[in-house]
Amino acid sequence: ACTGGSESQPEGGNAEGNEGGGSGSADQTLTYASTSDAPGLSPIDTNDSVSSHVIEQVYETLFKRNAETGEIEPLLAKSYENPDDNTWVIKLKEDIKFHDGTPFNAEAVKYTFETFLDPERAAPRASLLAPVESIEVKDEYTVVIKTNKPYGAMLAALSHSNASIVSPEADKSGNLNENPVGTGPFKFVSWEKGNEIVLEKNADYWQGEPTLNQVTFKVVPSVSTAISMMETGEVDFIDGVTSQHTSRLEGNGSINLIKKEGTPVYYMGFNMEKEPMNNPEFRKALAHAIDRDAYVESLNGLGVRSNSFVGPQVFGYDESAEDLGYSYDPEKAKQIIEENGFGDQTYHMLVANRDMYINMAEIAQAQLSEVGINVEMEMIEWGTFLDMTAEGNFDLTFLGWSNVTGDGSELLYPNLHTDNLGSSNRTRYSNKEFDELVVKSRTTTDQEKRKEYLAEANALAIKDAPWVPMHHGVVTAAVVDSVKGLELSPTGSWRLYKVSRE
């Protein structure tokens, strides 16, 4: 019983999270460099990948997704059952303690989720558990979660790092954002804002002591500098490597570049509320105009070519989707453009100033201009970008969705469902038929059924082409040779519990 619909988030593209290990060979420490600092360390109060990298080492969720198989397995939970579609009875593992000594039990789970859903607390990821109606403590190690309608993606949601269980004592008496307390393999030591976060091993970890003694999360804004620091031994681990760095990393014998096909999807989006982007012919022409094979090839293996919106690593993918969509055919594109006079105006392409999007945009722009579509690019900061896309202030744009839960409905619902017009549905796609399929995929607990609904919705969207999928992500990490045992999950997250230095 494992599907997870969880929320996903638009990919910032730059928020690289990596871990690093300490330098000296037997020295069991690790230094990881990320381009920015974590806003906070509380799973309840944060909603970003940098924070989640730390959170995943300090806290644990009830369930987790197996990095290899993609299956959802119990973690802090022992087992679960569904007496009915709206009830989840979850048995918890026993004898686990939070870092502050507070016992982990059903009360802690109830406290965590209730706090998470408390409108006063305004947890940014509260939507993850939105269908939850009540959480009850049945006995010390059993919780009962009731939903108001069947929630197909419940387990995926419970395996999301934002649904990590926190120490109720610590949250009541202190600030988890500054001073995180969980059950995970590493304990929080210190945080110098803007510079580094230090964790140390939790010697009492319930699965046994981790090998690493200490882990440092260091902020290094420039990736190029971070790689230099790997070469000088100041950093052991980075992740989210982009294509421009691969050859340098691969050229270095003492650095391992780990790649794994992942869940993110990156696409060019049309503003469906504006002329002529709302014209299917226009979108078709542009889809034909972009040589995605050449583009993906230029990513040096850091992208997967697919016509499907729901990517190959995402629940709900169906190979038949590859036959849909519009292949590279500049002649056809030119013809459509000429027939409709699309080439007479200049289009406004809004691009967030992050490497990956700039790269897509530059290539797309050049290829569009070859078929007679004139595009003016505006590169802006992420914050302004969010504002402007929310206001529909663009013709074309580039976006990504990392899909942390790896579930197709958590891609299609936020990004393309009519409910989310004006917020996460930035291309303003609205199709009744599609909407219905997506809702069904969310409210069904039968995973096979869900898969069918998703494939159908996916096919519908591909045909309507509100997006031109550029590539599906390959998650990456680079570690120095001596780091062993790092496992990347397709969502880009990783755990350091089993990592060691040689």
Binding site: E7, Q9, P10, A33, S36, P39, G40, N47, D48, A122, P124, S127, N177, E192, K193, G194, N195, K218, V219, V220, P221, S222, S224, T225, A226, S228, M229, E231, T232, E234, E381, W382, G383, T384, L386, D387, M388, A390, P414, N420, G422, S423, S424, R426
Partner: protein, 313 residues
């Protein structure tokens, strides 16, 4: 002197008032809504309204400014929208790094600049002069970030003499100095070049002046003529340049901190601007501006020590 200090501080007060007003207003009217950034891409309009309300962004702007001002006058720069960190705290932890960097690069700049300037003035029209002049011009012409990256590749990655980035050890330790070396050189080069040029021309002017001829007519040794009689006079305009340059250096830290992974105010500032983290932007801008004013005040005081003709009473 006391008068000067008081009047400058009064002036600084009004200056900061002006700056805070301009920054406040312009940030508020700039595109990009902090609430939306905090809310992230999934937030809908009502979420964003809630966030705006919780940040107090929905009040009339002048009321917001007034509240901010009252806070600042009580020494409270507010809290970051983004991380809820206290701005005072955030600046306090990062400022020492920036200050170390700025001072270290100033030292680099002054030493290199003054020595090069004096050499080229004394050896005017020799190839020493051509060499230092050209070098100084090249120094001005190199983009900061480019130089930084190249220095990292050569001295950190290839030669392994210095670390590639970061600033953690205190500056008085060997490790601290090693960590500061590359960023300080990166940042100091441009200023060194400017100081060298200024020193050269001011030295040349002084060397031709009447009182130097007087000193020679007294039979003073050439070394003493240059290093006692000329230096002090020649330094007067150079010191202005140093003061002015401090502003330039502070601007330069923005990029240098980025390149060398230094956790300083410069980086805080770019991040804050990008995040539309108004209180953080305000706080750091005010800090940098006051620093600039204070440095120039110090310059003026140093002036009075070097040049007895200047009195501030």
């Amino acid at each position: 002197m006391i008068n000067l200090i008081i009047s400058r501080l009064v002036q600084m007060f009004f200056l900061l008032l002006g700056i805070s007003f301009i920054v406040f207003m312009s940030m508020h009217f700039a595109p990009g809504d902090p609430a939306r950034i905090i809310g992230g891409p999934t937030a809908n309009e009502s979420d964003i309204e809630n966030i705006r309300a919780s940040l107090g962004l929905n009040r009339p702007i002048l009321v917001q400014y007034w509240d901010y001002l009252v806070g600042v006058l009580q020494g409270d720069l507010g809290f970051s929208y983004q991380s809820n960190e206290s701005v005072n705290q955030a600046i306090a932890t990062r400022f020492p790094n920036t200050l170390n960097l700025a001072i270290a690069s100033m030292i680099v700049a002054v030493i290199i600049g003054v020595v090069a300037g004096i050499v080229s003035a004394l050896k005017q029209n020799t190839w020493w002069d051509v060499f230092t002049t050209t070098g100084a011009l090249a120094g001005i012409s190199i983009p900061n970030f480019w130089l930084g990256t190249i220095l990292i590749l050569i001295f950190a990655v290839n030669l392994q003499w210095f670390p590639a980035g970061g600033l953690s050890a205190p500056f008085w330790t060997l490790q601290g100095m090693k960590e500061l070396a590359l960023p300080a050189i990166t940042l100091g080069t441009g200023s060194a070049a400017l100081i060298a040029r200024m020193t050269r021309s001011s030295m040349l002017e002084v060397i031709r002046s009447d009182f130097v001829r007087t000193a020679r007519a007294k039979g003073v040794k050439e070394k003493v003529v240059v290093f006692v009689h000329c230096m002090r006079n020649a330094m007067i305009p150079v010191i202005t340049v140093i003061g002015m340059n401090f502003g330039f250096l502070l601007g330069g830290t923005i990029i240098t901190e980025q390149v060398f992974a230094i956790n300083g105010v410069g980086r805080l500032m770019i991040d804050a601007i990008a995040d539309r983290d108004f209180p953080m932007v305000q706080g750091s801008v005010l800090l940098v501006a006051s620093l600039f004013v204070i440095v120039n005040l110090i310059v003026d005081i140093v002036y009075a020590f070097i040049d007895p003709r200047i009195s501030y009473d």
